[in-house]
């Protein structure tokens, strides 16, 4: 991991951090929604929305394409949302890195060389599994496996696949279209004017 292609440039660090900040704020707002209006859909159904929590891991990796991008982006986003006062508070400091490491694993398995759709979907799903397992054991002990835990884990994983996996790929494309990713591999293929 010491070759120059894998070294983070300043712009990599700053953009990963900016994504972390943006999603930290989104998490903060999303948390209010999750525990507010979305309470109308009781868990485990509400886990349909869960994928949003995992977007930065996949998005960060797809844009930065460096080892550690998934881990850094989601961990920092979790920290920012804690600093702003998230309803899960401090434990996100533990949970964030855990989910982030799960997503990172998918990119690491492919040697940080491919950043195509299947890898993104795998990363998102792993992150979703890590997140829901943590929730089930730490936050919802004493709930039934059949009626709660299994559906919760399953729904979270699917939501994560769709929202964080497909969503991040789509968002990366949309961002590349605006030209802001011109200095990243994801933004290179645009016609000249």
């Amino acid at each position: 991991m010491d070759n120059t292609a894998n070294r983070w440039r300043t712009i990599d660090i700053v953009i990963a951090s900016v994504l972390g900040v943006a999603f930290g704020v989104i998490f903060w707002a999303w948390g209010l929604l999750w525990n507010g209006p979305a309470d109308a859909i009781p868990l485990p159904g509400r886990a349909v929305l869960y994928g949003v929590w995992l977007v930065p891991a996949v998005l960060g990796a797809l844009i930065i394409r460096k080892p550690g991008a998934a881990f850094f982006t989601l961990t920092f986003a979790a920290l920012v949302s804690v600093a702003l006062g998230s309803s899960w508070g401090w434990t996100l400091v533990v949970q964030g890195p855990l989910e982030a490491a799960a997503a990172e694993l998918a990119f690491a398995v492919f040697g940080y060389r491919t950043y195509r759709l299947p890898v993104a979907l795998l990363a998102a799903t792993l992150a979703g599994l890590a997140a829901s397992l943590y929730d089930v054991f730490i936050w919802y002990p004493g709930t039934a496996w059949g009626s709660f835990r299994l559906p919760y884990i399953l729904i979270t994983a699917v939501s994560s696949l769709v929202v964080a996996g497909l969503g991040s790929v789509a968002l990366t494309r949309a961002l590349a279209g605006t030209g802001v990713l011109d200095r990243f591999p994801a933004g290179r293929e645009r016609p000249a004017v």
Binding site: I11, I13, S17, V18, V82, G89, W90, W139, P141
Partner: protein, 266 residues
Amino acid sequence: MIVIEPVAAPGAPLARRNPVAKLAAALVFSVALIATLDPVAPAIAIAIELGVLPLFGVRYRVLARRAWPLLAGAAGIVVTLVLFAADRSGRVLVEAGPVTVTSGVLLTALGLVLRMLAVALPGVIVFATTDPTDLADALIQNAKAPARFAIGALAAFRLVPLLGQEWQMISMARRARGVDAGRNPLARLRLFVSTAFALLVGAIRRGTRLAVAMDARGFDAGTPRTVARRQRFTTADGLLIAGAAALAGGALAASILLGTFRPLLG
């Protein structure tokens, strides 16, 4: 809306402690409490937290304002347990269709809610008393965090309050050009999404320029960095962490002695 400046009296004895020490103390204290499901240990922990609050220079009113989102989370936990608890032993309190609320369920819910508060409050206290710049400095100097990442993250964090202004600017720009949603909820949602996307694009653009400006001033030039603001890790800071560990241990011990302790795994 979003407050990120420290809101505590900066001279308070514990607020002045090294940010890394505060962070470690809060982490030790919280993680110890995750290990139990009973209501007693978290209740003691909350009492301790509220007790040391004045030492951090945080007023109770400020804490209440910062901690209110936690209550929403607590409500979510209660609802979930009432609907899906596996163990419904104890006296039956309410029978409403398929839902049976028993004293056992409520006791578990109480334990979880108290635990959530007990675990979350230290984080609120740390961030209420810590300046982000000091935190980054201390992470670099006392926790050996990589300087480039800590400083880069710090520079990006400065954008948080600007995002609100930017949102307003984007909305005004659209309105000036004849773009609005009127009363149609679908159009509103579309406008919201496209404004959020524009905000993200703007943030990345800003970040790109920020990175150039940082490079222009020699960031990442390969020269070893020096530090202008020294952060010291003193004995008092070590004592703060040890104290947090001892207090958390005390809360758990009390719960064990009272026979209420229920380990998370087991």
